[in-house]
Amino acid sequence: MTNSEILMELSGVRKTFGTIEVLHGIDLQITKGSHAVIFGPSGSGKSTVLRCMNLLEEPDVGSIKFMGNEYGPGSGHKGEAPRGKPIELRRKVGMVFQQFNLFPHLSAINNLALPYRAVRGGTLSEAQERAAHELNKVGLLKFAANYPSQLSGGQQQRVAIARALSLDPELMLFDEPTSALDPELVGEVLGVMRDLAESGMTMVVVTHEMNFAREIGDLNIFMEAGNIVATGGSDFFENCTNQRAQEFIGSVL
């Protein structure tokens, strides 16, 4: 990337669930406009890293620096920068879930309008106008009045992406966005994500879609057992030297 301004930086992030440490100290820098792809076997901590990035999981140790502010527990030493509130970070970081997590009691348009109003205030009309605009961008304006139960999985995920985008995030996180979809619906979601990547959005994607990763990933991260084992640029899939990463890529592709 020519622009090397760092948008988010994870340093020494450790996370423990019960007695099991699932992240053993993650260091990661996401530069503005980059498209990071995290992959690896299940249980390797991919999703947990992603969830730490918007503090849905609060790290036990370590720091998350985002747009000049420090989040997470920090070192506890005196003179350390004050920690930001998770809600402030989340308002600038969008997230897309494997299970879409649309609000089933709201129509597609209100799935966007409710969060927009809750975060930005304003009238319902203003929020719905913005929502209609975002739905149009993902090609779902004609389904604005439909409820999630009346949409296909692919459509639901596109609404979920539009919902996150309607809040003008600086960074978008995707947690296996196509894993819950029927194979023939994967393409439409990847299409929306491809457009988003081309528009210059900073993205971190946890995925098993290796072809998509190869296509958009300019920072490829291979994780295993709670560690980042190998990283590389867009030539990672061709020139990776790490044996475990090679094996994994070989078995998935």
Partner: protein, 253 residues
Amino acid sequence: MRREEDGVAPINFMWHLVWDFRWDLFKGLLTAITVSIVALILSMVIGMLFALARMSRFKVLSIFAIIYVNIFRGIPALVTVIWVYFGWSLLFGHNFTVFQSGVIALTLLYSSFFCEIFRSALQAIHKGQREAGMALGISRGRIFRSIMLPQATKIAIPNIGSMYIGMIKDTSTFAIIGLVEVVRVTQNLNSTYFQPFVLYTAAAGLYVAIAFLIDFIFRNVELNLAYPPQGRIAKFLSRKKKKKIEELMRSTR
């Protein structure tokens, strides 16, 4: 006609009494409904507060809720109303009216049931719903009000209906403190005409009729709260909103 010579009265069902005193019975029913509706509203509000206390991070609150629930789920309505009506007056020298006593007793009893109903309803909501709200940067209060509460209400509706039928039936025990509801009216008539079978069967008929009515109402409420709404009322109420969305769909480019 049998054994009249032994001094046993002939069996003579005076069904006309039910018609003759229909307005007294009706007024009794109205009292039962009024007491139970006021108590329903109060116990839903208080029950929700207890449900939140029960699920609270603060141990003190959740233990308090557990103790409350188990006490009042276990006490018969008759005992509760005697406590409220006679006990309170003996201990504190303040007299509740029979109506107030009925409402308070029912609320004490049923808020414990509603606590459990709302707790299970809130816990039945997929955790992704709260996470989606958090990831969008919506405040905790707003997540509860706009995302959790509507979905929990829908889940709880059938149980609320059953509970309300139980509440109406429990008003019958308030005859003992002199609340002139259905059973009290029946008792009064019986002491004059000595027609227990006829009069109490009529009373039972009223309770059953009300149970059918409540079931009908709650099935309709459930239908109207479906996603998307199925009932006529919801369709009628949402037609303006739908028009607005359709207008937006035309005007957005």
